[in-house]
């Protein structure tokens, strides 16, 4: 038991060292702008289609569920408000982060893990390149920028999905009522939550993916293990961080 706890603390310490170096490298030369752009394309543009689909359906599902629940209280007109708050504050950031964690934390961990077991990381160090500078920092920057963008997209299509359910399908509300209540429900705090969370999630996803990738040992089996750990650990962290983020921001209103 003590050994397990020691390993846990040691690996968290290693993670913090890696994170510290990755952040320090953001402000240190050389900068690999090409790699940042490439990662933004892979993480951002690559995840767009799945984010669009999941965003649209999650909006539609909230509208379906809420329409029924609200009608019990005769408050069907509030569907826009409910969709807006749940989507922008919580579901948009968290669902997008979970999708990107599943897609990119695993991708990053398997890519870096394969490089580790085939001596490519050592080769990079031997050639005089800092693997953290070349591999981790570009992924950190790219994910931290792209995840808030993807979240905005998910929120937008989610709003449209909910609109399609509430207005043309169930006809419980008029278009102008829907958009009015949707828009009016939002305050600056919601926006801070809705964009602040994915920014932090993006850093978690990329750093956890890179950490497990760079820690890989034990050949192809090790790569598989690193990939699984990266997805599981980043998903857990997303929920833990959401809780604390909400604890702070809910009290601010």
């Amino acid at each position: 038991m003590l050994g397990f706890l020691k390993d846990l603390v040691a690996s968290f310490q290693d993670f913090l060292f890696l994170a510290g170096r990755a952040y320090a490298n953001v402000f240190r030369r050389p900068h690999y702008y090409g790699d940042v752009a490439l990662q933004m394309d892979i993480i951002g543009v690559g995840s767009l289609s799945i984010v669009l689909l999941v965003g649209a359906f999650s909006g539609a599902i909230i509208a379906l569920q809420m329409a029924r629940a609200l009608s019990t209280y005769g408050a069907s007109s509030q569907v826009g408000t409910i969709v807006s708050l749940t989507l922008v504050r919580e579901l948009g950031p968290v669902l997008t982060a979970i999708i990107v964690a599943g897609r990119n934390a695993s991708g990053i961990a398997s890519e870096l893990g394969s490089m580790k077991v085939t001596e490519q990381i050592d080769a990079m160090r031997a050639l005089g390149t800092d693997p953290v500078q070349k591999l981790v920092t570009p992924r950190l920057i790219a994910t931290a920028i792209m995840l808030p963008c993807l979240t905005v997209v998910a929120d937008a299509v989610g709003a449209v999905g909910a609109y399609l359910v509430s207005v043309p399908l169930l006809q419980i509300i008029t278009p102008s009522q829907y958009w009015n209540t949707f828009w009016r429900a939002l305050v600056l705090n919601d926006l801070a939550q809705g964009l602040g969370k994915p920014f932090v999630f993006g850093m978690i996803i990329s750093l956890v993916g890179c950490y497990y990738g760079l820690q890989t040992t034990g050949g192809t089996q090790g790569v598989g293990r690193a990939t699984t750990q990266a997805v599981v650990v980043s998903s857990i962290w997303i929920f833990v961080v959401t809780f604390f983020f909400d604890k702070i921001f809910v009290n601010l209103t």
């Binding site: 490089m115 160090r125 031997a126 050639l127």
Partner: protein, 278 residues
């Protein structure tokens, strides 16, 4: 004045958890010299190479590379020193997501980037990449990906990448491991050629005694463009004199000397590595 050694180990000890990977290792390598490191698996051969460029943490002792201390320096301080040496990995260590040409170009662009210049390909870099690939007779693979070429070719590309910056020291980690004898001899011929054309120092880890024999017995003659046995060239004897053999056992150097001294050794462990395969 004595020339400054390119690499010098002074009483170096390296420990991995409870096992000593290197114990009290001291060696010196001057420009143009060759060291062949033999030893069984796990005897510390590869650790010695990695320690030379600071890839491994040293417990105590000093390692000087190009006159600069590398043992236990901050990783960020080491990148510049490391980029001056060439390192050939056992499996080539090529980046599999980029082409052969881009792999060989990497050290050149990396040097430009670390000097604050743009990391863009220029005519000059492409020419040097092609020259380096021509040196290992693989210019035609320029646009191929590492997965599209054979294992032996990947090692040769690894050599091309290591020497593209014309380093004064090249470290080879088992360059012939797992290759058929013909391909292995081709690789060794290239390593001898690199040594004799550029007069670079070489540290070669191997499990094949014949690799050392090639380095000791042959000399690359530039006008004839082929390897020549040293006995055919009197002036090549000076070159021959610069090859020494090191045998490692459990992290320690148990033998250091010339090929003749190695062959005359009575030590049963040392004798195990002297095999004449036809």
């Amino acid at each position: 004045m004595a020339e400054q050694p390119v690499l010098e180990f002074s009483n170096v000890n390296v420990r991995f958890e409870q096992t000593w990977a290197l114990r009290d290792v001291s060696l010196k390598l001057n420009p143009g010299e060759t060291r062949i490191i033999l030893g069984e698996a796990g005897s510390g051969k590869s650790t010695l190479l990695k320690t030379a460029i600071g890839l491994v943490t040293v417990d105590n002792g000093a390692v000087q590379l190009f006159g600069e201390q590398v043992a236990n320096r901050k990783e960020t301080d080491l990148f510049k020193i490391r980029s001056r040496a060439g390192f050939v990995f056992q499996e080539g260590g090529l980046f599999d997501s980029v082409s052969v040409g881009e792999n060989v170009e990497y050290p050149l662009l990396n040097r430009q980037i670390s000097e604050g210049k743009s990391g863009d390909e220029t005519e000059e870099t492409e020419k040097r990449v092609r020259d380096s690939l021509r040196f290992v007779e693989l210019e035609h693979t320029y646009d191929k990906f590492p997965s599209e070429i054979s294992g032996g070719m990947r090692r040769r590309v690894g050599i091309a990448r290591a020497i593209v910056t014309e380093p004064p020291l090249v470290l080879y980690d088992s360059p012939t491991a797992g290759l058929d004898p013909i391909t292995a001899n081709t690789i060794m011929a290239l390593i001898a050629k690199e040594r004799d054309v550029r007069n670079s120092a070489s540290l070669i880890v191997t499990h094949r005694y014949q690799d050392g024999e090639i380095m000791d017995n042959f000399y690359y003659d530039a006008p004839q463009e082929e390897l020549i046995h040293v006995s055919e060239r009197a002036e090549a004897d000076a070159k021959r004199n610069r090859t020494r053999f090191i045998v490692m056992k459990e992290g320690q150097i148990v033998f250091f000397g010339t090929r003749h001294e190695l062959e005359a050794s009575d030590d049963p462990y040392v004798k195990r590595f002297i095999r004449h395969e036809e």
